[in-house]
């Protein structure tokens, strides 16, 4: 008998009549059918709550299926109709005493879902009994129930001694009970202000023993909890990692990735290089194997691999081939693979990588093609020996005349010029053929930068700039800044050619434009030029700092934090969880005698002693970063974005654009139903100013090629 027929809109009145009908109802078939109709309507989103007296009346029917449907109804509507929950209390009281453990567990489980004070207060006593029930199934259900209760009323849980009861459960004889108790404790610890889970070695060792007998999910919970072990001696870390390592062979990727997380964490506390090395060796094969799972898990795996290989470059360094994209990979998998390919590219394999990238650049998906083109340019910057071939490849791509390919190529060629000055000027002619097709600000700004930089080599540079200047006031700030600087460069290099343009631009920049950045830069140039031309020359044409793909590396502090979150959402987005999860506790490496010194900032381990000093320190870190920025800012050589992109090789402008594009498309819904989106957006900026900024300075990989992260990450 199929239940599909119940999937149609039912009238409340009719359903009520059916429930109350006096007709003979053997085995309650009729009642069951009516209840199914009600559940189907609930699923479709029709409000059935007004039926509550009639549904509650069915609770007395001694059929498990009926009971489960009534409970489902209760869970759905208890909050809206608390009074109906009161009527159910009697039945719950009876059920928690039932001789059948399944019924006892069902009652406890359901009561935990009902957030009505009266029910909650009736739950405390039976819950305490159930936590010591003789049946493991009831105990494991009760363990989770404590977490439920905590979400409703944390004080109640803390004061009623449930935490201690949970702690006792950690040494329960049944592995499922242990796993659920661990899961509950972990969650409570993550959410509570003053409860912090800390496991010592002896309890950790017991948990690892329980691993062998747990269900796969239970293994994940236990592994997760091992992140709260702080090894005091290197030997502890090694022993623990050694015992967890077999989990890497598990068929469930959640177990594998969580094990990877714990092992990577424990490596921070190991002392001998050979131990670390042998662990790294063990990590590689299971990470590769993740790529034979479903595409969604592959994506999760790839994003995490990108983190792991930044910390431990020896992992997977010889496995680049498996990251080559298949033609029919989903786009998100391709994008993630591309980033890893770039990272693993080295002198030895660059030949193959380049030919793959060329292949990708002819595919159909616009974002993927762009990213491939951009990667070719970055490859040139990363590996000098291959620069010549990369430039040739880019020129070939420009010949295709596909608009976005051309623009993307020009953007990266700017970086190549920047890295290898005076080597590839011969291609400027080809670039200039495509001026008319440029319509993206980033490409325009790049081209303008090239014209300004080589103003003395390009015969008609003044004409070219003049063409661009024609639309000066309509351009984006990025392009305007580039134009301003390029024009000044032109004037300094070829005063006669630039003398007509400079006053025009300076006047526009200082009088017609509202942007303070542009205005200020205009004033500075103006005063420099009018007071001391030699000084102007020294500033504007000064030696530029080197760019390298080192700046693509993630901020080490952020990387360290993300590694503690492997497999989680934040590791996929490469954003600290505190930036998008409200009330989330930050994680950090807890100091112990065994903790290896991190060379990037020695004070880091201490600063988290209290969160205030953490903020303070990070602010300092940021400040030093911005000092760097400022010192380079007046080298007078900005491609147009406040100096920043000069050394991150890819301006952050497109990021904002993409973001706003998504915001627009989501606007209607997001505003109406989530409402607080804007709130979080502000909150992120307010709470964590340094995060986003350092990401832009240090780890701009999020910007590269308009990453996958942004697409899915619409804060």
């Amino acid at each position: 008998m199929s239940d599909a027929k119940f999937f149609q809109r039912g009238k409340i009145q009719e359903l009520r009549l059916e429930l109350n009908s006096d007709k003979k109802d053997r085995n309650y078939t009729r009642k069951k059918q009516t209840l199914k109709k009600i559940v189907a309507n609930m699923t479709m989103g029709n409000d059935m709550s007004s039926l509550h007296p009639d549904v509650i009346a069915c609770m007395s029917i001694p059929v498990l299926e009926v009971k489960k449907m009534v409970y489902l109804f209760l869970i759905n509507y208890a909050k809206a109709k608390p009074e109906m929950a009161y009527e159910a209390i009697q039945t719950f009281r009876r059920d928690v005493e039932d001789p059948n453990p399944l019924i006892r567990a069902l009652a406890i489980r359901t009561m935990g879902y009902i957030h009505v004070d009266k029910v909650t207060s009736c739950l405390i006593q039976p819950l305490r009994h159930c936590m010591r029930d003789q049946d493991p199934y009831v105990r494991k259900t009760a363990a989770v129930c404590v977490a439920k209760l905590f979400m409703q009323d944390r004080h109640l849980v803390e004061n009623a001694g449930f935490i201690d009861l949970l702690r006792e459960m950690l040494v329960d004889s049944n592995p499922s009970v242990v796993a659920n108790a661990v899961a509950a404790l972990t969650e409570i610890s993550e959410r509570s202000d003053h409860i912090q889970l800390q496991l010592n070695m002896s309890i950790a060792s017991k948990l690892v023993t329980a691993l062998n007998e747990c269900s796969e999910w239970g293994q994940t919970y236990i592994l997760e909890s091992l992140m709260f072990v702080v090894p005091q001696e290197p030997g502890d870390a090694e022993m623990l990692a050694e015992r967890i390592a077999p989990r890497l062979q598990h068929a469930n990727s959640a177990v594998v990735l969580t094990a990877v997380k714990v092992i990577v964490y424990l490596m921070n506390y190991m002392s001998r290089e050979e131990d670390i090395h042998s662990m790294c060796k063990k990590l590689s094969p299971p990470l590769v194997t993740l790529l034979s799972s479903g595409p969604e898990v592959q994506y999760v795996g790839l994003r995490n691999i990108l983190l792991v290989i930044q910390k431990h470059p020896e992992i997977l360094k010889n496995d680049i081939k498996i990251f080559f994209c298949k033609y029919n990979d989903p786009i998100y998998v391709k994008m993630a693979k591309l980033e890893i390919m770039f990272r693993l590219a080295s002198e030895h394999n660059v030949e193959q990588v380049l030919s793959e990238l060329k292949e990708y650049a002819t595919e159909v998906d616009v974002d993927f093609v762009r990213k491939a083109v951009r990667s070719i340019g970055r490859l040139a910057v990363k590996i000098e020996s291959t620069a010549q071939r990369c430039v040739e490849a880019l020129l070939e791509l420009i010949q295709t005349k596909v608009n976005y390919v051309v623009q993307e190529s020009i953007v990266v060629i700017k970086d190549i010029f920047r890295k290898y000055p005076n080597q590839y000027e011969s291609i400027i002619g080809v670039l200039c053929e495509n001026l008319d097709n440029l319509d993206e600000p980033e490409a325009k700004a790049a081209m303008i930068w090239i014209i300004g930089q080589y103003a003395d080599r390009i015969e008609n540079s003044d004409e070219l700039l003049d063409d661009f200047l024609y639309t000066f006031l309509e351009e984006t700030v990025e392009v305007q800044l580039a134009l301003l600087t390029a024009t000044v460069k032109l004037f300094i290099k070829r005063p006669t050619a630039g003398q007509d343009l400079v006053p025009k631009v300076l006047k526009w920049a200082t009088e017609e434009v509202d942007n303070p950045d542009l205005r200020d830069r205009g004033y500075i140039y103006w005063r420099l030029l009018s007071t001391d031309v030699a000084a102007a020359k020294a500033v504007v044409l000064s030696e530029k700092p080197h760019i390298s793909t080192e700046t693509d590396n993630m901020d080490p502090v952020l990387l360290e934090e993300l590694l503690l979150h492997i497999a989680s959402l934040s590791a996929i987005y490469h954003k600290a969880p505190t930036t998008f999860i409200p009330h989330c506790k930050p994680r950090f490496l807890i100091p112990s005698p065994a903790l290896r010194r991190q060379n990037y900032n020695a004070g880091r381990t201490l600063q988290h002693q209290d969160s205030y000093s953490s903020l303070h320190n990070s602010a300092q870190y940021q400040q030093s970063q911005s000092n760097n920025m400022r010192s380079q800012r007046f080298d007078g050589d900005d491609s147009g974005n406040g100096g920043l992109d000069e050394f991150v090789s890819s301006p952050k402008q497109p990021q904002h654009q993409r973001l706003s594009y998504h915001e627009q498309s989501f606007e209607q819904v997001a505003e109406a139903s989530i409402g607080n989106q804007e709130y979080y957006e502000q909150k992120i900026n307010a709470e964590n100013p340094y995060r986003t900024d350092t990401a832009a300075v240090g780890g701009s990989q999020a910007n590269k090629g308009g990453g996958v992260d942004l697409m899915s990450f619409d804060l």
């Binding site: 567990a105 493991p136 979400m151 009970v177 062998n212 595919e363 899915s712």
Partner: protein
């Protein structure tokens, strides 16, 4: 952890909706419909709006969706979605819109059981079937008597197996199924070649059998000095993963595979190898673009395995440009025809003897195009099945069954190699 779980059909209608936490409302279901189902360009399986994250997996004509407001374990959530599909298939044969609608009440029961407060619990179909049953006629009395057994089963160390299994004839079937992946460059170089293998087992064994399973695994055989002579015939396994019944600790210490199998069919292990791959087919494509109106094809396929074996259902997909007007082609065996909907020539060879070779010659006529974008030349892809052949050379050496009743058991083994991603660029 998971805050809500939904199943939608393709139209975006909610078929199943279950909230586990109070941090979300039912109305969130509409957001997913608008953001993902009615969006033609979905570029990630995870979407985060504000602090709510939507994870989705597509299966048949369904969207399986899990929501969280926490920095949850993404691998766990996706694995859980896959598991729901598997449990569904095990219960209903197929997990699609029809099956979900026909069994929605049962699915709610299952969801109440396998997810508690968003934490996945025991989700082994075999155990679940003991107490969540399709025929609700089972008397309450019986449930009561069984219940203690059920709860031990659902929480115990071998949660995947009931203890009272009985067969008159004890049999075990092993299927070694290899998917061989190949990416060949236009110049004929192997860019990547690897094998993803799967060992499926169907165990019809009574009681609580302890099984030991052996492969010609290089690492294992080389450890044992008595075997040193025979090691020429071994396979180097890059990595393997096991069903949760396999004792991982034991494998880690001495590389033996021992386990108490679930009853019926399950995937015992998965493995990967990239060493010494025997590619079952060689393809030599010659594709020449003549001007802007014509493309000439000459494709040669050769079977590279023993002439005693043969391959079934060999299919080659040979791409043609989007502006193809028509194709004329002849094949020396099987049938080849142009399929406009797939933009390719589909060449089917139902039976392909080992060591033989066939060719296809053809010509595609193109219509004039206004925009000048070059043809992206997608790779030729190939599909096939070769019985009793493993690309990796993997062999099953033994399967031993130990049970306290000491019964005789019959074991069968089969091998098959099929095409995974078998792609040839040209």
């Amino acid at each position: 952890m998971i805050s809500a779980f939904f199943i939608y059909n393709q139209k975006g209608e909610v078929l199943i909706s279950r909230l586990y936490r109070q941090d979300l409302k039912r109305s969130i279901a509409d957001i997913f419909r608008i953001q993902v189902i009615s969006n033609t360009d979905v570029r990630s399986p995870i979407i985060t709006l504000g602090s709510t994250s939507f994870f989705h997996v597509r299966h048949e004509n369904l969207y399986i969706v899990a929501l969280t407001k926490w920095n949850a374990n993404a691998a766990l959530i996706f694995e859980f979605c896959y598991r729901v599909i598997n449990v569904g298939r095990s219960y209903f044969g197929k997990f699609d819109e029809e099956a979900v609608k026909a069994n929605f009440v049962l699915i709610y029961e299952l969801l109440d059981e396998v997810l508690d407060f968003g934490y996945p619990q025991n989700s082994e179909a075999d155990t679940l079937k003991m107490y969540i049953t399709t025929e609700s006629v089972k008397s309450e009395r019986a449930v009561m008597e069984d219940s203690a057994k059920i709860t031990i089963q659902a929480t115990g160390a071998t949660s995947w197996r009931r203890s009272d299994v009985k067969y008159r004839k004890n049999e075990a079937f092993i299927d070694v199924i290899e998917s061989v992946n190949l990416l060949l460059s236009a110049q004929g170089n192997v860019l990547r070649a690897d094998v993803a293998g799967q060992i499926m087992m169907r165990a019809y064994l009574s009681g609580t059998p302890e099984c030991k399973f052996g492969l010609n695994d290089k690492v294992l055989l080389e450890k044992d000095p008595s075997n040193r002579r025979k090691t020429s015939n071994t396979v180097e396994i890059d990595d393997c993963q096991f069903h949760q019944c396999v004792k991982l600790g034991k494998f880690d210490s001495d590389r033996t595979i021992s386990f108490i199998p679930p009853d019926g069919e399950f995937e015992l292990m998965r493995y990967r190898t990239s060493d010494n791959i025997n590619l079952p087919f060689k393809v030599h494509p010659v594709v020449i673009e003549i001007g802007k109106s014509k493309i000439e094809y000459r494709i040669l396929v050769k079977a590279n395995f023993s002439s005693k074996l043969y391959a079934n259902n060999v299919v080659l997909n040979i791409p043609t440009p989007l502006n193809t007007a028509g194709v004329t082609c002849t094949a020396s065996s099987g049938k080849a025809k142009y399929v406009p909907a797939e933009n390719s020539i589909v060449w089917k060879i139902p039976r392909f003897q080992g060591q033989s070779e066939f060719t296809l010659t053809g010509e595609a006529n193109l219509t004039a195009m206004t925009h000048k974008k070059a043809w992206s030349r997608p790779p030729i892809s190939m599909d096939f099945q070769v019985l009793m052949f493993t690309s990796s050379g993997l062999l099953v050496r033994f399967l031993k069954v130990f049970e306290k009743n000491n019964y005789q058991s019959v074991k069968w083994v089969r091998y098959m190699t099929k095409a995974g991603n078998y792609q040839i660029r040209f």
